[in-house]
Symmetry: C3
């Protein structure tokens, strides 16, 4: 068996050398999935102190714990940024200055996250308190990660923003591209299956339910990008106005598609056209067929 | 850099003091996300002994292992309940008596879970054995967690029930509110994207597929609640009868909406009206357009 | 309290003895969920060396690391296969020969995965590089696990294939049965909510979006299986041709249902009929109702 495995190891190495597309040996040192995951968890603790703790933090401790956390996050993030900037350098940027700028910007993100939490408490009758929202709502965690990843996306950082949002995606079922620009008071309820595309622009006080897709409608697959990987081509994903509610399973597509302020998009609607302010879009009731079930009828679908 | 980080730590602390909505320092000691997650995993081992083990458990060992597990669960759960009852006290209840009552009720939950497992084996042609169902079916894990969380919800316990079901949600993609009342022989197949609301009442032998929403249709966001946080307002979510099957992507909304016994709701249906016993609801075939693809036609949607 | 818990432990043991369906004490030693999960992670490292690492691997190291990994995987997989073959023996197969055959076949799987990664890079305008695809795309991880599980399914191995794909399901929200036969250049974008059934046959260059179901439409729940648990009954799930794109939320059902080459299935379509080559299936625009929102109209659905 030993000889078999050694032979096999050799064959794997030959395969590794041949199959370039999914290898990265003797190449750049890439950001580590595990490190980005740990880093993102720690950033969530910076954003929501006390909520992720095992025990309460008193005023005396908080300054020390925060200072230690910032150091730890600084070290981890600059290490991964070093690899990303090695992989795709950006003029005038180094791991240190990008990390410091990012951490400073987190203060503003905290303020915006407060509006998101308020929107969650406001928008979900099942939510009893802000505490419950912080402890239990996947939509709040997903937007928190996306807002932080968005800062790095706007800096043009390669790989890390997407790795952060894909970790949030794997935990929450919510898939928001780090490129999306999202206004304050944003609330995703339930969330599993939500997909928000790279060039989406979303207003304030927008509420979205599970399974909603804000996607692209484009005749060209090739997206022009600048040196920082940011999309240059025309917008591919929709623009959503202020105070819009989009119900479960709705799909809205296209860079030219706009949903006006205060409009409501009903569940399971499929839209590729723009909707003005103050409109309601729903399914037609007539499209369903309701009939009595025949005595001998066995019905087994979708098994 | 040291000075920069110290200065930043100070600014974070100022932000923590200002932004009340997502802080909890010098306040109540809240149930810990991590502790509730570990506790829930251990409860699953109590429910399904042997299935989560690394090695087989023989009769001789089982009594000792179970005794040890019960002690461990007792300690962990009362610790988190202490925090919850500190946060929202309930007259006549303390962590010890709630925990003991909960553990005793788990015996009944085990019996009901057996019916859920049987329903899974019965309802999924891809299921070969009860063992496969126990080892691999996310729907079984999700209902197991919900039935346990429901016990605590009915006691009026704050925060913990929702934290348990949100952990199950993050693992399975299935989002069942701890308030939902669900009959025996309940089976969710595939499950990703299922949302079942707080005031749902579901009968026996109900089968649900992925992406189904049993949600609310209400003109008022404000839900009256009793001191224990249990919903007092009129029912917001549907009532599902016995022997109902609801196929993938269907959405059923409203506290007044009833689905009668033995009825079948087809995939992607969107319902806000009641359906009697023995009915079938499906999409109309005419709503689709099927056409030949033009030679030069490039079609790229939803990218 | 001690006495209470001891009494309770006794009652749990009585329950364990009674409720046979979800017990497995003094029975077969089943494959461990945890072991299969660890094993699957290590297999992903064999498939994508360097991408899951914390640090770069140079040529010198790669042979040693690969050799060590193969040993570790060999030991773990044969241990779990021993349990599976004990549970359901297969004539002529033992853990050792199945494991060796499996590891050799992984070389071919690597080549096919390269086509899947290329399809992801080709099919998603948001993908900047193969590296990003490898590091961040849940669809690539899901198909990698399924292709490996499929090898064991075809050997007739009990339990393990489904445990592997359900772990991938819990991480990615993508549910592909190990029995599905999937051609090269397969790409699932976003992916949350995708369900692909046991007897699906999928061609090459197929692209699928989130929430797509390829499910069964059958009048009989009972599936004939051979001794190895492989489905013998007529096909329950659809056949998808080459170069087909299926957009978000589409549902295609039935073993007789065929989607022809180069056809496009629009979002949210629900199909139980076959579609020829070069066709496009979409929703009818007329089915939506778009109306102005009344001044005093409050609209709260699906809360």
């Amino acid at each position: 068996m030993d000889r078999e495995l050694s032979k096999l190891a050799g064959q794997f190495c030959v395969s590794y050398a041949k199959c370039g597309g999914i290898n990265h040996i003797e190449g750049a040192n890439l950001p580590s999935k595990l490190a980005v995951e740990n880093l993102t968890r720690q950033l969530l603790q910076l954003m929501f102190p006390g909520y992720m703790e095992e025990r309460p933090l008193g005023d005396q401790e908080i300054r020390d714990v925060t200072r230690a956390r910032l150091s730890s996050v600084f070290d981890q993030l600059s290490a991964e940024l070093d690899k990303s900037l090695d992989y795709r350098p950006i003029e005038g940027k180094d791991a240190g200055n990008v990390t410091l700028r990012f951490l400073r910007n987190l203060l503003d993100v905290r303020h915006i996250l407060q509006t998101d939490a308020a929107a969650a408490l406001e928008g979900d009758p099942a939510a009893i308190s802000a505490d419950e929202v912080m402890l239990a709502y996947p939509g709040v965690m997903a937007i928190a990660v996306q807002r932080m990843a968005h800062l790095l996306y706007r800096e043009g950082i390669a790989l890390i923003p997407r790795m952060m949002t894909e970790w949030a995606h794997s935990t929450t079922g919510i898939d928001i591209h780090p490129g999306a620009s999202i206004g304050t008071h944003f609330f995703i309820d339930h969330g599993t299956g939500v997909v928000i595309g790279e060039t989406c622009v979303i207003g304030r006080h927008v509420r979205i339910y599970q399974g909603v897709t804000l996607g692209a409608l484009s005749i060209s697959k090739h997206v022009k990008r600048d040196d920082g990987g940011r999309a240059l081509s025309k917008k591919r994903h929709p623009t959503i106005g202020d105070d819009v509610t989009i119900y479960a399973g709705a799909t809205i597509l296209g860079g030219e598609t706009k949903i006006g302020d205060r409009s409501v998009i009903g569940g399971n609607v499929w839209l590729t056209q723009s909707i003005g302010d103050d409109h309601v879009v729903t399914f037609e009731a007539q499209q369903m067929q309701i009939r009595p079930r025949q005595r001998a009828e066995a019905i087994d679908w979708q098994i």
